[in-house]
Every structure is written in structure tokens, then in C-alpha cells.
Symmetry: C2
Subunit: 592 residues, 2 copies
């Protein structure tokens, strides 16, 4: 890999003196670096390959960090990182882990926000622009947003307000004709029309909103990008540049199979085989997918709903086979929940499926459109729990978010059989919205079928009867509870083990009964403690002599911290839990 | 008031045989009824006066409830209620309280959703349409949405998806050129252009999104409405009807002063004087408004941000006087928070102000755009707390919503002086996002200035030192705590009284110290208990001998239930609290 030009670039100003030929060489070098690096480590592949030229042109024409770039989601900011002092993290394998996959102000003065969710860039850029105006600056503010991100409501609120601001703000729409999956929605017809007419069609969403509009036919052509950016630089009013790029540009497989190459696991560039060679075990996601497809085949009123991530929320089967029973709303979680409520109201059976981190985007719709109306939609929540994810994709918060809304029943299955029974019941019942937290762990199977009947709400199950200590293990942490129980036996404590099943309510009868022969109840939940499940147990026992210990995550944002470190920090290992239990029991002895 | 035509209308089918003349008479009669009723009881005035003819025409042409109308916010559904069997509640003063101010499925089969927040109708209608399609129906689904509501992201997500559905859905855009306040945003330039050109302009947002588009020049003219509705009925693809109506139509003052007459308190139709004649006391809202104006006059980097409700969130002063320091984003709470984060990042001092019920609309932005980035924006939350409001405007949920997000400091002032100090500190500091829960009570003033320094986070204040029982009274419930303390003295208990000030964290040192000479801690919070403040205190003491009682609201939706009833139900009266305290103390005695 020859990196003759890149070799000379340590900060954006080093670009300014290059010729077009050199800039083009640089594009090629950066593309080589990206392909090599991302195929080795995994990461966002297609989005970054498409943005190489545009990023070079932005840094060539504008003056970062005085002029400010805000990348939407920022999963396409690798070239930006390479050009702003962080190239070693992409070239040198030993440094591969030293920068994050998103923009990060802690890394560089050229980054302004830690971002990871979509559709936020225009609104954040509006903030920088308004801040500039009241503080008294005159720099350019540029938001860079993909066509997929434009489907989210926040992006539209941003467009609507940016257009009205009447001040400098430049919105670069990177139109590669793809969300993660294919795009859906009226907006995309307009983008297609504009591409076909090279921006000349009368019907123009951006002009209709009041923007000055520029079209760049080949968004991977440096010269036309530079020309356009020069034209709009320092304009004193809002501008949209609509550029057409090729997602995955420069790596043939990624150009052809855009969805599969949006984000990749490490793979071998020669053989194209995945580098991960472990055995693949069926996941809860797979089980869910199969169940939903089978169920939907038999019941034509079932509708699977996704907000642009069908493959990771177990809707791939329905997507492929049952077109009329599948809706991809784009990155529009608010619409997804309201849609589900409406379908349920009209007698259909909606199953709306999300990652934990993205269901955060629709709290008000869960509360108002769905829960107040008490419509029997099924919601699936994937990837909830403590994880080593980056800070913007944490699955810590769905329990406080969902479980404190009245009317919603939030269930936490502990095994494959229980999960299937819960889905079956949720889809069949007609009383309440039911959310299910799909376990974020390896599949646990008992082989014993569970009756799909959860009509009696908030009924916990005592799995193993004991005394002195009761362990309430919620969802995927039930197995941790089981392990703790087994180890406690070794120190002579015969603990009770409980599967609460319901996150959203207390089994007061069972909890009262525990008082007869238990001194301590511990709760285990895979999520943040604040506002979560365990605190409700603590509140229940507040005026009783029962001692309670809540185990779960501390209220903090964590960024790619290894799971073992977090488990240790939060006392979520068998040893530390048992130590905490023994301390309380010791205390109680002293008191007596 | 002659109601000759209305007299004959008990359900929509009674309309079908009327002539245009009779329909016009009916409009006049309904308008008289509305003016008389709303001026007597208060309620949404302008929005309903503007919608009389359109509602009659809808029911004349379509076949409700088979054809289904979904009203956005549904604050304009009074005529709909009158025509669907509920006219007595508008004509007969004795029945005035018997229907709600919004659509309500429990009242009528012609209502499909309990609604109260904006921008949801298109998405809910998409759900009804998709439900129809999978269940096998063929009715018309009509969403009725005002231009103001179109500024919200969910409305856009709905438009984008409705356009793509390719099936029957009719969106009636009621363009009266006003949100609650005046409209802002690029969208409104397009609506204005379409009005000016009578729908003929080439730049057309709705057509750009893929809708068949119809324009109705006079949306208060029955004949042209009927003609247009007949044209689009039973169309098998998505249609937008853009009609221009006059907000407040038929009541001159309301036509002229559209904002003041959006929602009215009871007033005398003859004299136009308000019927409420009690003395007006300065509210926390007024104090906040004055403070912000004064502060912003002196500091040009302060920016007040509202989502279309400036007058009720204490931004009226800045709005009137400091145009460059004021942003009304429309009904776009998500944008408001991202904007605030951006302004803070660029060195400005944003103050974004919301009602508790509406801050629910921006959870993900609070978490991602603001808290993860830890930008020092100030957020004001008004009207948080238990109230007799309708179910969709409850202020119960802001504490669980905001306080379980890391990095945000959520403060609860107990007096005017503390509130001013907290605002002063929040705006001046540069460390964290700070939210302040403006007390939802009569103003309490001590006359003693409070130092604007809350740098030491989570430091509670012991206001009165005692023993045995400690009362932690949060925010507006601090005074309740004080009253409980005083009454406890009468029964020989000298309780400690604590003002926690911080909702978002525990003062562990103080809580530990309480163990020395207290047996019971009680928490008082004006909000839902689940996920709230008190549960964190319960968790803290879970493994200690300290008893804890959490007082607050049960997890339930309540609809216009009188406050006394709720306080009684939740044990939030001095008597009931003291009874509960005494029960615990009795219990403890038995144990010893």
C-alpha cells in the first residue's frame, strides 16, 4: 500500500496546497487504508467508502475547526478522522483501537459532538449556528447527513428550522439511495426524481422548504465537489447541497451488496471469508425471527414493523416472505409506535421490534399514542442490558424508560421456551400493549414448553424454594441468580430463587410471603439501577424489616468498557454478590 | 339561540338528507353553541370555530364510524362531538362537564384515540389504514391536522410513510396560518406560497412527497368542501387536501387575536371581561419570565427556546423584547433540545423551557444530543406534578424521564429565592446540562436570598434538625413536609426536615448520618413513585435497619380527577402521612 500523499497530511491545512491530481491520489490511498482497516477490525464499511472524496473536498475548501462539520450518526467520519490528525489509528494495526467509530470531541478539536443516533446533525448544526450568531462569529456550519437519516423526524424539524433561520448553514445531503436497508417513504421518490433530473425537477422538497439548492451529480468526483463547496462557502443564508454518491465506492462487493456491507465483521480481503471462525450458535434473535415468520404465515393480520433495522430485530423472515405483513418505516421510531397502536386499534396484530438504544427515540409515542390508548400491540426490545458498546448505543435504559409508563406490560423471559410463550401470548391477547425484552445472552433452553398464558399480571414464579435469602433474577440475569444460588449452597445458605417474569409490577403476595422465612432479598437486573426494577422491590420493603440489595448498573455513561470490567465495578459477579450477601447477613447477626 | 337544524341531528346520518341551506344554518347554530359554551367553561376557542364547516362536510360526505376520522391533538373536535351524539354536553349547561376536550373512544364509537399531544394523527391513521388492509376492510381513513402540528417530527414521519403506503389515506391539512403562537419554519413559507397561488405553485411539499394534492381556497365554505371530499372519497392512494380556514371564524376578537383566543378561560360574551374575578397573584411562571428577561438583557449570549408555547413557559418577556435571543422552533421539542446542546457547545447560554408533559417528546435528544455530550444547557420544566389535568397532559412523568439519565443535574427549588438562585447558577455554570423543575404551586418566599452556588452536587440541606423521623420534601412538596413536621410535633415527634434540592443524586453522607438518631425516613415527591426520587432513597437504605416510606403518585393514568381525590388516594395529606408514620413507629416498638 503506497501512501505517498497521505504521508504528508497531518492536519487539514496540509491539504490546501495539493493539486487535484494529488487529491485524487489521496482519495485512492485513503480508500485503500479504509478497506484494509475495516476488513480487519470490522466497522462501518459502505458509508465510509462513499464519503472519501466529499470529506477531502470539505477539508480542502473549508477551514476546520473554525468552520464546523457535524456528521449525522458520524459513522461516515473515518476519512474526517484520517485527515484531522488521527490517521495512525487507521494505518497502524497497533493503534487500531485508539479512536472510536464516531465523532468524539475528546479525540479532536475537529469533532464537536459524540454522536451515534441518526437524524440529529441538522439540529445540532442549527445550535452551533445560533451560538455563533449570539457569540459573534462568522464561520461556516456544515451538517453532513445521509438520505437514510432524513427519514427521522428530528431531521425534518431541523430542516424546517434551518430553512427559517435565514443565516449561514450548509446541509450536505449524501444521497446514496440507501438507508441501512433500502429506503421507504415519499421523500425517496423526490430524491430519485431529483437524481434523474440532475436536480432540475420542479418538485423539490428542499426548495419547497426554502433552501437554496445545489445538485452534485457525482459526489465521488473531487472537482465538482470542490467547485460546489466554493460556491456556497460563506453564504449568509441556508443552503442544501444534494450530492449523489455510491455507497461502498471502490470495493465492488460493497457497491453491489450495499446492505450487507453497511457494517461488516472482520473479513479476509482475498478470500472474502469472515475472520471469525467459531461455531455459530442459534441466538435469541434467530429463534424470534423463526417464530414470527411461522406465526405470521398462519395469521395474516400480524404485521412486523421495523425502523430501518429489520435484520437485527428478527424481522428478516417476514421481510423476505410476507411483503404485505411487513413495514419498514425508515429511521422513524415515533411513527413505528403510533402505527402499531393504530393497527392494533383496527384489529390487526402489530409486532414492532427495536434495539433497546433506539426505542429511546419514541418515549412520548409509547406513552401517549400507545399506553394511554391501551392498544394491544407487541413490542420487542433487543440488545437491552449492560454491554461493552460505545456510549451512544448503550442498552441500559429501556427498563426505566418503558416500565414506568402505566398500562404497558413489560416481560422479561429467562429461557427460550418462556420467550416463545410470551410472544405467543402477547400477540394473541387484546388487553394491553406488551413489550418483551429479548434476552441479551446465549440461548438457555429447558426443553420444557411453557404455557403461553400471562393473563394474571405480575405473578412471579418461585423456581427453587429456600430460606434466609431470596434471589430475584430478572430476565437474562436469572441464570446469574441461579449460579449465585448454587454457590450459596456451598456456604450453607439455601436461597430461594425467583423468576419475576414481569418487569412492570410487584407480586405483593409472594413478596409478603417471603417475610416468613427470609431476611434478605436481592434483585439482579441487566440494566441501570436508577428507575429500574430492583428499586421497586426496595420501596416495597421500605417499611419492613426485610433487607434488600439491588444489583445492576450504576447511573453513568460508559464507552466501550469491557464487560468484565463493568461486572466487577457493579458487583455483578457471583463472588462479589455472595460477599455482599454475607456482609448483610453478618450485620444482621450483630444486631441480634 | 335558535337551534332548529341542530335539534334534528343526533347522529351523522341525520345530516345526509339536509340541503346546503340547512347545512349552512347548522354551521351557524353550531358556531353559536360553541361560542356560548366555550366562553362559559373555557376551552379551545379559535381552533374549533375554524373547523365547523369542515367537520360538517366530513360527516356529510363520509360514513363515520366505518370511515374513520383521526383528529390531531383533537382540540378541534368539538363540532365532531356535537354531530356524533354528544350535543347535549355543549348545549345544556348542566351537562357541560360530561365530555372531555379531546377525542375519547370511551365516549363514542366515532372516536378512535385518546389524543392530546400534537403531530400524531397521520401516523395513527396510517395504523388504522394498515390494520384495514390486513384485516380486509375498504373504508376511508382521514387524518385531520393543523398547520401548527405539521412542524413536529412525528407528523413528517407520518407524511413520509403515508405517501409511500400506496393505499387509501386522506390527510386534511387545516391551514389557518397559526400554531398556538405564530408559525416559524420553512414549511410555512411553502404553505403561504400555496395559499397565494391557490395551490398552483410548482414548489409543493406534499406533491414532492408523492401525494395527490387538492387545494380548498375557502375551508369555511361548505359547498367547496363537500365537492372536494366527494372527489377524494374511496381513492385507492394517498391524498392531501390543503384547506385554508380562518382560526376563530365567526367571533371577531378571535379572528383578530388568534393566539389569545386559541384557548380561553371563561369570559363574558357581552363585556368580554374574564369571569374569574379572584385576585391574581404572581406565579412562579411570572417570576421566571421576569428573571430571564432581565438576565438576557444583560447577557446577549442567552437564548430562550420554546416549542410553540412561549407564554406558558416564561419566555414572553424575551419573546417580546429580544428577538435575536429568542427561538420558537414550532412543535418540535426534539429540535429544541439538540439546538440547545449546539448553542451551549458554541459558547452561548441556551434556556429551553417546556411543560412537563411535552418534555416527554424529546427523551432521546436529552440523552444523546445533550447528556452524553454534557453540554451546559439550562432546561426549565413547568407544570410538573400531580394534577387534575386530562390524561394526555399529565405532569407525573418528568422525574423518572429526566433524572435517570446520567450527567443531567435536575434541581427542585422549594422557594422563590432558591428558584432564582438555581436559574442563575444553571445559566452561569459550564459543566453539565441542568434542568430545573419550576414549582407547580403558589409562590413561597422567605425573603432571604439564596447563594447561586450548587457546584457541590447532590448536597441536601437539613432545614430543621430533629430525630426519630426524617422528612425529605422534594421541590413543591417541601411545604407539605414542613406541615407534616409541625403536626408531628403535636404528637410528640420532633422530626428532621430536609430539602434535597437535587433530584438526580443522593447525599450519602447526610443519609448515613441520619442513621445515628432516626428510625424512619419519609420522602415526598410531586410525581409518580415508579422510577422517581424516593425509590432511590429506599434502595440506599435497603441493606440498613432504617425504615423508609415513599410518598407520591401511583403508576396510573388519571383523567381530570380532582386533586383532593388524588391526594387522598396517594396518602398525600398531612393526616394520612402522619398515620402511616405512626404505624411504622408502632411496628418498630413491637419488634423491640
Amino acid at each position: 500500500m503506497s501512501l505517498n500523499v497521505l504521508h504528508k497530511i497531518n492536519e487539514p491545512k496540509d491539504l490546501k496546497t495539493l493539486s487535484i491530481e494529488e487529491l485524487n491520489l489521496l482519495s485512492g490511498e485513503i480508500r485503500d487504508v479504509l478497506i484494509k482497516k475495516v476488513s480487519t477490525t470490522g466497522g462501518h464499511f459502505g458509508p465510509n467508502l462513499g464519503m472519501v472524496e466529499a470529506t477531502i473536498a470539505l477539508h480542502y475548501v473549508f477551514n476546520s475547526p473554525v468552520d464546523k462539520f457535524v456528521y449525522d450518526v458520524s459513522h461516515q467520519s473515518y476519512t474526517h478522522k484520517i485527515l484531522t490528525g488521527r490517521k495512525e489509528s487507521f494505518i497502524n494495526p497497533e493503534k487500531f483501537g485508539t479512536v472510536t467509530g464516531y465523532t468524539e470531541p475528546k479525540e479532536s478539536e475537529h469533532d464537536f459532538f459524540t454522536v451515534g443516533h441518526t437524524s440529529t446533525s441538522i439540529s445540532l448544526a442549527c445550535g452551533l449556528a445560533k451560538g455563533r450568531d449570539v457569540v459573534g462569529g462568522n464561520e461556516n456550519i456544515v451538517a453532513i447527513i445521509g438520505d437514510g437519516s432524513l427519514s427521522g423526524g428530528e431531521a425534518y424539524e431541523g430542516l424546517n428550522n434551518a430553512a427559517a433561520s435565514g443565516k449561514n448553514i450548509i446541509i450536505l445531503v449524501n444521497d446514496n439511495d440507501m438507508s441501512i436497508a433500502e429506503n421507504h417513504g415519499g421523500l425517496y421518490k423526490n430524491l430519485a426524481l431529483l437524481r434523474e433530473t440532475e436536480g432540475k425537477a420542479e418538485l423539490n422538497l428542499f426548495k419547497a422548504l426554502g433552501f437554496e439548492y445545489h445538485f452534485v451529480k457525482d459526489g465521488n468526483n473531487l472537482e465538482s465537489l470542490i467547485e460546489t463547496f466554493r460556491k456556497v462557502k460563506d453564504k449568509k443564508h441556508p443552503v442544501v447541497i444534494h450530492m449523489h454518491t455510491v455507497k461502498g465506492k471502490g470495493y465492488e462487493d460493497a457497491e453491489v451488496n450495499k446492505e450487507a456491507f453497511h457494517w461488516v465483521m472482520p473479513f479476509d480481503l482475498e478470500t472474502k471469508a469472515p475472520l471469525f471462525t467459531g461455531e455459530y450458535e442459534k441466538s435469541y434473535g434467530d429463534i424470534t425471527d423463526e417464530f414470527l415468520l411461522d406465526k405470521a404465515r398462519k395469521d395474516k393480520t400480524i404485521v412486523g414493523i421495523t425502523a430501518a433495522t429489520p435484520e437485527i430485530v428478527s424481522l428478516s423472515g417476514i421481510r423476505r416472505e410476507l411483503k404485505d405483513q411487513y413495514v419498514d418505516v425508515g429511521i422513524a421510531e415515533e411513527h413505528a409506535i403510533a402505527l402499531a397502536s393504530g393497527i392494533a386499534k383496527r384489529g390487526g396484530k402489530p409486532v414492532a421490534s427495536f434495539l433497546s438504544t433506539f426505542i429511546q427515540r419514541t418515549y412520548d409515542q409509547l406513552s401517549q399514542d400507545l399506553a394511554i390508548n391501551d392498544n394491544p400491540a407487541t413490542i420487542l426490545v433487543h440488545w437491552g442490558g449492560i454491554s461493552d458498546s460505545d456510549v451512544t448505543h448503550s442498552g441500559l435504559f429501556d427498563i426505566p424508560l418503558i416500565s414506568n409508563i402505566p398500562n404497558i406490560v413489560y416481560l422479561a423471559p429467562t429461557t427460550k421456551e418462556e420467550h416463545l410463550a410470551m410472544m405467543d401470548w402477547a400477540i394473541g391477547q387484546d388487553k394491553h400493549p406488551v413489550a418483551i425484552r429479548v434476552p441479551n445472552s446465549a440461548v438457555v433452553s429447558t426443553g420444557v414448553e411453557v404455557e403461553p398464558n400471562f393473563d394474571e399480571l405480575n405473578k412471579y414464579v418461585t423456581v427453587e424454594e429456600g430460606n434466609e435469602v431470596a434471589i430475584i433474577g430478572l430476565g437474562s440475569f436469572f441464570s446469574l441468580g441461579k449460579r449465585v444460588k448454587d454457590k450459596l449452597k456451598e456456604v450453607g445458605i439455601n436461597a430461594t430463587l425467583i423468576n419475576p417474569r414481569f418487569i412492570t409490577g410487584l407480586d405483593e403476595e409472594l413478596l409478603n410471603k417471603l417475610e416468613e422465612n427470609h431476611k434478605l432479598v436481592i434483585t439482579l437486573e441487566d440494566g441501570i439501577l436508577d428507575g429500574g426494577f430492583g428499586e421497586k422491590i426496595s420501596r416495597f420493603y421500605g417499611n419492613k424489616s426485610m433487607r434488600v440489595l439491588n444489583f445492576g448498573a450504576t447511573k453513568e455513561f460508559t464507552d466501550s468498557v469491557p464487560l468484565e470490567v463493568l461486572y466487577e465495578r457493579y458487583h455483578l459477579t457471583e463472588e462479589l454478590i455472595i460477599e455482599d450477601i454475607q456482609n448483610v447477613l453478618e450485620d444482621l447477626k450483630t444486631l441480634v
